[in-house]
Symmetry: C2
Subunit: 220 residues, 2 copies
């Protein structure tokens, strides 16, 4: 078992929004889904399910909802980078163009995983804090990350999106999701148009990690 192979996968895990319509072979998709099942969860409850949407009409319906939300989001997002340099603005515009591409081709993407969760199966330890809760996500997003790392390792493009949560009721109706289950992500999956995975831009460990107290630089 090689740590280097893992780091190769992780360090090139780009968000891929331009996806081809070519099908994902069943054996490849099967390995990707199985990788998700291995993720840890609180009390090993695995309080998540994913609906892999491959039906074109259902993908069209999801894509229509997604497009409406994306257009509003993109307008807001553009305002956020008004002050940036021309170079940085161009980079952000490329992300928006890729999102536009995803909207236009949502129904052609071979598979869209709709991630569902059940709060009754979770011990949400921050539920009583006087701020937005996130801990339920700790039993779901590790599985989503496994799914996406497996996609990357198999050369299948994907991107984690959460906009559809804003119209959760409509998504639940479309896919017959029961009352006590909710949605927390949609992951479109397909082979990349163009280059696909590659270098990523992230803050370094020296910015993101401290030692013993807040803001104290870690000595490594």
């Amino acid at each position: 078992m090689s740590a280097e192979a893992l780091y190769d996968v992780m360090s090139t895990q780009r968000a891929i929004r331009r996806l081809r319509s070519d099908p994902i072979p069943d054996d490849v998709l099967s390995r990707i889904l199985t990788a998700a099942t291995w993720a840890p969860s609180g009390g090993n409850q695995q309080p998540w399910r994913m609906i892999v949407v491959r039906d074109t009409m259902k993908k069209k319906a999801l894509g229509d909802m997604y497009t409406t939300l994306w257009e509003k989001f993109a307008a807001m997002y553009r305002k956020r980078f008004e002050g940036l340099s021309a170079e940085e603005q161009a980079k952000e515009e490329r992300t928006i163009t890729a999102g536009d591409y995803l909207c236009a081709h949502f129904h052609e993407v071979p598979a869209v995983a709709i991630v569902c969760f059940n709060p009754k199966m979770m011990a949400v330890t921050d539920a009583k804090q006087d701020r937005i809760s996130v801990v339920g996500g700790g039993s779901v997003y590790p599985a989503v990350q496994n799914l996406m790392l497996a996609c990357r390792a198999e050369g299948v493009g994907c991107v984690l999106t959460t906009l559809l949560c804003q119209v959760e009721g409509d998504v639940k109706s479309l896919l017959s999701i029961p009352d006590d289950w909710y949605t927390c992500a949609a992951v479109p999956m397909g082979y990349p148009v163009g280059g696909g995975y590659g270098p990523i831009k992230r803050r370094g460990a020296d910015e993101l990690f401290f030692e013993d107290v807040w803001k104290q630089q870690i000595s490594l």
Copy 2:
């Protein structure tokens, strides 16, 4: 880049609660932290920071808080498996015994990552839904999962715990975490006592994945 290597890592990612006090070499810890930085987040905001606690007095203080919460949790947890078979009860008791071990040795664990997040840096798309929110976790737990997969690949044991969120105010005081940052996990890391990583028990993909509509078996 080999998908098999990734699957080897993921399929043996056990929760390891019995950790030795031996230090984690700086180069190993550095690679583990760097792996976390690569994870995707909404708008690439990386709205998380981690404090790696290595100071013994601070670990002792965290361990005391954790022990109080764990004892309450373990009592509740035991009630949950009263109806199970003797074999299953014995398995759950082993988990509790391992948790007791973690409590007794918390201050000796070489490093405890306290995961922090800032909701102001997140677009929480399910904030207005009439149920507990989880989407903020989508920009944090992928990094936590990267951290833990890197631990596994390096042979360093770890476990995702969230009990300390119940006493978030005390944790924030201890580590001087500012008002607008909160906590969502603690990950003790150290070399395993005994066997460490190995086979895991999870639901299969056929139980966790559906196709097109809820409960419809996926054909792969």
